[in-house]
């Protein structure tokens, strides 16, 4: 698997980021298909199986000490169905085979993860810091004073960034990393680990994160497919 360095000590590998010996993934949205089913969309389910397969490959290759799940581990806001409960534990147990510790950064979709996390002794935090790298879900602006004064790089999820690459006849959508500036710090928005769709096209969709509202044209795009491809600035792709 190819790796691409996005900042000092921050490396992209497939849909994940590696900061020293910590692996960061975000927005898995377990239970999406269950949510569909409860609304009458009776399609067969492959999400968990696919997620495990792709994540396991990364874990085998990187052997991280810590895995940070940067928000939205599960999909539904409300109650957890028994199926989601089982699936979430299955995924967490798989990760624990390759790493010592899991930390969950709270996202907007998982207000009641507590019971699941307690069961496996997993820590749930609002944000997580590795030296001067701050990891936050990205649905709200993090405080950058006090203990966060020294932050140089911010990593967020939440956005599910993707981009439509097109020539005269063909258009295709790909997951991507966005790398730019936020309040004089470096900002990295990572693609979602939600495998059913690519995500929101940053060229024309309204971005959700309050951190991604300014100077988007100067963000660099790194497309993730079989490898990671640097595609230059957003403004040159419009």
């Amino acid at each position: 698997m190819n790796r691409i360095s996005l900042a000092i000590n921050v490396t992209a590998i497939d849909l994940a980021l590696l900061v020293r010996d910590t692996l960061i993934i975000s927005d898995i949205h377990i239970g999406y298909e269950d949510a569909l089913q409860s609304r009458g969309v009776l399609i067969p389910i492959f999400q968990l199986q696919d997620t495990i397969k792709r994540l396991e490959t990364i874990l085998k290759e990187t052997k991280p000490k810590i895995v940070v799940i940067n928000g939205d581990l599960k999909h539904e806001f409300g109650r957890i169905s028994s199926q989601e409960w089982r699936d979430t534990l299955k995924l967490l147990d798989m990760i624990l085979q390759y790493t010592e510790k899991i930390i969950i950064v709270k996202g907007n979709h998982d207000p009641i993860l507590g019971p699941i996390a307690r069961k496996r002794g997993i820590e749930i935090v609002k944000e997580y810091k590795i030296n001067n790298v701050l990891i936050a879900h990205g649905d709200a602006e993090p405080a950058l004073d006090k203990e966060n004064k020294d932050v140089k790089v911010i990593i967020i999820g939440h956005e599910h960034p993707a981009i439509i690459i097109q020539d005269k006849v063909r258009r295709e959508r790909f997951k991507c990393f966005l790398v730019g500036k936020y309040k004089r710090r470096m900002l990295i928005a990572q693609p979602s680990f939600f495998l059913l769709t690519e995500g929101s096209d940053v060229l024309k969709e309204k971005l959700l994160s309050p951190l991604l509202q300014r100077d988007l044209g100067n963000f660099d795009v790194y497309v993730v497919e079989d490898k990671i491809y640097p595609f230059g600035k957003i403004k040159n792709l419009r």
Partner: protein
């Protein structure tokens, strides 16, 4: 066996079968029997299945009901009338149902008055609008005549108590059968009829139809495979007064503005010369536009009181009010899209105007037949054409109409999604052995050839066999015991799911277009994918600027007087029928022969006058159009000749135009097959545009269209198209519809109805999930079949390829600097799509190389 009735019954013969009170009533109301009645009444009385094809207002409805009313009165008079349903009447329109109820209650009242007593014959309407209270009433005291729609019929067949009243139904009348035979509503109905027949072995079927062909197929569709049916064909009872008119003498040297001005003046002149005019426009937005312009340009002639628009997007109240005003003769003019094609009573119309081609002879006759409502009155229709392709098309159409040559409809067969609903419904009725079930299904004309394998696959799908045992409970909708061969219902929710989810008309889905909070309409996911911020496009007749999207919602601003920057979003337009297309091709061939033989202008004009039914303006315009094409390239495509034209547009883009006048349904298929062959030969994506008259391809490579076309083997077309469709938006869209019908995506489930979240699931996710089960999964296969056979026309495409292979269809190739006259509109208007051949990763790598090259150059 299908038998055409040649001999009418005499008045005396018919009178002898009528009950004295009914006879008195008939004499009071009518002078004599109408022609359809002379053919049909005795047959229905004798319990023979019958299809009656005759124009609106020819006494068709009474033909169907006279013998039935007669028999009910007779039974009531003898005191042997039971509390059960004797006759089920099905029509595709709720509005028509109300009409029919009225038209039955009145004679019953009048006959009662003659007899001096109440016969107590009950008539009731049951549709989606029927209240629960009304339904309870119907359950307690069933009507003798039940008026319903195909959807409601299917629901009552599966309801435990009400279906008891349907046992031993004597007659079933299917009205407007021509409007249902050609789509899945008809397929669905055909199985409902078999289920009804199973409860009522002696039931007689009566079909009523407007102009349609082939009558034998429609008759067999009515009665089911291997049953007998009589056919009454009195389609051409009325005198036809038809003309094609052009608003200006010269269609080519007139500006767009002048042409429109002339068109509205012409419409106004015609409307003013008549009492009441009905105008058909083909689209909803055009309907609104025409009403708006007429009011604006001729305020003295048209106001809110005397002109109105009628189309499917308008509220039911608005439409009902308009129909009422029309019946009472209060309106001077009504403009509709296609919504008044079917036979609700709209009173006296003395002129029908068609703006633009109706695309099929049958449709033209159905529309024009709305005028001259009394029998023997002349029907008067005028088709107004706006360009030269339209002129030739409508002129040939008119010729076919005058010569009674009606294009054939396509009846869908082996629809697996519709089958799902009925097996589910039958399992709710009672336990049934699969052999009996299979035999019942094969009785329907639409399933007479269904293979045991396909059938079993649907049974297993319903039983949830495609999912591992532990998760099956979510998916299984029936139980199926392989050892005993029995199936039955499963789960408490099964009946509720069935009742709230059956039907064949797909839910609207796609991207919601909003201006602020206001919903404007919907576009396809694929269309949104192509849009860039600030792009301007047309939706529902207005122009909008695209701002941004989020998920399945697109935000736009209204903009005024700005031309669109992307081709308009055209969802499936009316396609030109293949038969009519071939007739146009034949006319082209005859014209070519004259031009090649160097006949004089006068001789050719004389030929046009004698061949087509057109005025002098039109004769000249047709001549000029052909002469220009012939002088420019020396080749005219026809029914025996395909022309391939290599050309360029103003911006130097290279096009290959295929002049294949076979109608859009064939061209949709043929173009994709050719594009696929070319894309594969040169391993590059190909862009294409499709119309009724041909298609074009654009690609960056050097194309070899002749080789590609010749390389297509008729026997391999199905396989090629399966591959060619794989990545297309049209397949994804149709798959969603099929998944809906196959109860895989439920409209209503566990108390949730129409949840926005569910509506907005991308078709891509759905299709990817199903492909994982198997690329050949039955519902996906049905989506492919629907696209290839119902939306497109793979059968006639194969026919064309066979003609090429046999050398009966010649292919010529020419090069032009600017598009030839025949190619001009095609390049301008073709509906766009793209044939993807390059792998997604390959495409990405190529685009990445481009980006790297750009950055590299920037650095130097």
């Amino acid at each position: 066996m299908i038998t055409h009735l040649e001999k009418q019954n005499t008045e005396e013969e018919l009178l002898t079968i009528l009950h004295p009170h009914v006879r008195t009533w008939f004499h009071q109301k009518f002078k004599t029997f109408a022609i359809p009645q002379r053919f049909g009444v005795m047959q229905i009385h004798s319990r023979n299945n019958i299809l009656i094809s005759s124009p609106t207002g020819s006494g068709k409805t009474l033909t169907a009901f006279l013998a039935i009313l007669n028999e009910l009165i007779d039974s009531a008079d003898k005191g042997i009338l039971q509390d059960k349903i004797y006759c089920v009447y099905v029509s595709p329109l709720k509005a028509l149902n109300a009409d029919i109820e009225h038209n039955l209650l009145e004679p019953l009242k009048e006959i009662g008055a003659i007899a001096g007593k109440e016969f107590g014959i009950r008539v009731a309407v049951r549709t989606g609008d029927t209240t629960a209270q009304e339904k309870t009433k119907q359950l307690k005291r069933p009507p003798h005549i039940l008026i319903t729609t195909p959807e409601s019929l299917a629901i009552i067949l599966a309801s435990i108590k009400f279906s008891d009243h349907l046992q031993n139904t004597q007659w079933c009348i299917i009205d407007e059968i021509h409007a249902m035979a050609e789509n899945k509503r008809g397929v669905h109905l055909s199985l409902s009829l078999e289920r009804l027949q199973r409860m009522s072995p002696a039931m007689t079927r009566v079909g009523l139809s407007a102009t349609v062909a082939p009558l034998d197929d429609v008759a067999q569709f009515l009665v089911g495979a291997n049953r007998d049916c009589k056919v009454v064909d009195v389609q051409f009872l009325k005198q036809l007064d038809l003309k094609v008119i052009s608003p200006v003498p010269d269609l080519i040297n007139t500006t767009h503005g002048e042409l429109h001005h002339a068109m509205y003046s012409l419409i106004d002149k015609l409307v003013q010369e008549h009492k009441t005019t009905l105008i058909f426009t083909n689209t909803r937005s055009a309907t609104e536009r025409v009403v708006h312009y007429l009011k604006e340009k001729f305020p003295k002639h048209y106001n809110d009181i005397n002109i109105g628009a009628h189309h499917g997007s308008l509220s039911k109240d608005h439409r009902t009010e308009l129909e009422g005003n029309l019946r009472q003769g209060k309106l001077k003019c009504v403009v509709c899209s296609t919504s008044l094609e079917l036979g609700i009573d709209i009173g006296y119309i003395d002129l029908v105007l068609l703006l633009g081609s109706p695309k099929s002879v049958a449709r033209a006759l159905q529309r024009i037949g709305r005028s001259g409502h009394q029998l023997h009155a002349t029907t008067k229709g005028r088709i107004i054409v706006m360009d030269r392709d339209d002129l030739v098309e409508c002129s040939v159409l008119l010729k076919s109409a005058m010569e009674k040559k009606i294009d054939r409809i396509h009846i869908p067969t082996n629809c697996l999604d519709v089958l799902v609903q009925h097996i589910h419904g039958l399992a709710l009725e009672e336990k049934i052995h699969i052999d009996d079930l299979y035999a019942l299904v094969k009785q329907s004309y639409c399933y007479k050839d269904i293979s045991r394998k396909d059938f079993m696959e649907i049974v297993e799908y319903l039983a949830g066999k495609f999912i591992s045992l532990e998760d099956r409970h979510v998916y299984a909708k029936i139980w199926y015991d392989e050892t005993t061969g029995m199936i039955g219902r499963k789960g408490k929710m099964s009946r509720v799911i069935h009742m709230s989810n059956i039907g064949t008309i797909p839910d609207q889905s796609g991207v919601i277009v909003k201006e602020g909070e206001k919903k404007i309409g919907m576009v396809d996911e694929g269309f949104l994918e192509r849009l860039k911020p600030r792009d301007i496009f047309v939706l529902g007749g207005n122009t909008y600027r695209f701002k941004f999207s989020r998920g399945m919602v697109a935000q736009v601003d209204r903009c005024y007087e700005t031309p669109p920057t992307v081709p308009s979003w055209v969802s499936e337009m009316l396609p030109l029928s293949f038969d009519l297309a071939m007739d146009i091709g034949k006319f082209r061939r005859l014209m070519t022969e004259k031009l090649e033989a160097k006949k004089s202008k006068e001789e050719i004009l004389e030929f046009i006058r004698s061949y087509l039914y057109v005025d002098e303006n039109a004769t000249n315009a047709v001549y000029e159009y052909f002469k220009e094409q012939y002088d420019y390239v020396g080749e005219i495509p026809s029914d025996q000749r395909i022309l391939i034209e290599h050309t360029e547009d103003e911006d130097g883009r290279k096009y290959i135009v295929f002049h294949t006048l076979f109608g859009r349904r064939v061209n949709d298929c043929l173009s994709r097959a050719v594009a696929f062959a070319i894309a594969r030969m040169q391993h590059k994506d190909v862009e294409m545009g499709i119309s009724d008259n041909g298609f074009y391809l654009v690609s960056h490579g050097k194309l070899q269209p002749m080789q590609a076309l010749k390389a297509l083997k008729p026997a391999e077309l199905n396989k090629v198209m399966g591959l060619a469709l794989d990545q297309t938006e049209v397949l994804r869209r149709r798959f969603r519809h099929c998944a809906n019908r196959a109860l895989m995506i439920l409209r209503s489930y566990m108390g949730h109805t129409k949840r926005v979240g569910r509506q907005q699931v991308s078709s891509m996710i759905l299709m990817n999930a199903v492909k994982r089960i198997s690329p050949d999964f039955c519902i996906l296969r049905e989506a492919r079949r629907e696209v290839l056979e119902d939306l497109m026309d793979i059968e006639n495409t194969t026919l064309v390829l066979n003609l090429i292979a046999q050398g009966k269809m010649k292919i010529a190739e020419v090069h032009t600097k600017i598009p030839s006259p025949f190619a001009f509109d095609l390049v301008l208007q073709g509906h766009l799509d793209i044939m993807k051949i390059e792998d997604k990763v390959e495409f990405l790598r190529r685009m990445h190389q481009n980006v790297l090259a750009k950055i590299g150059l920037g650095k130097k």
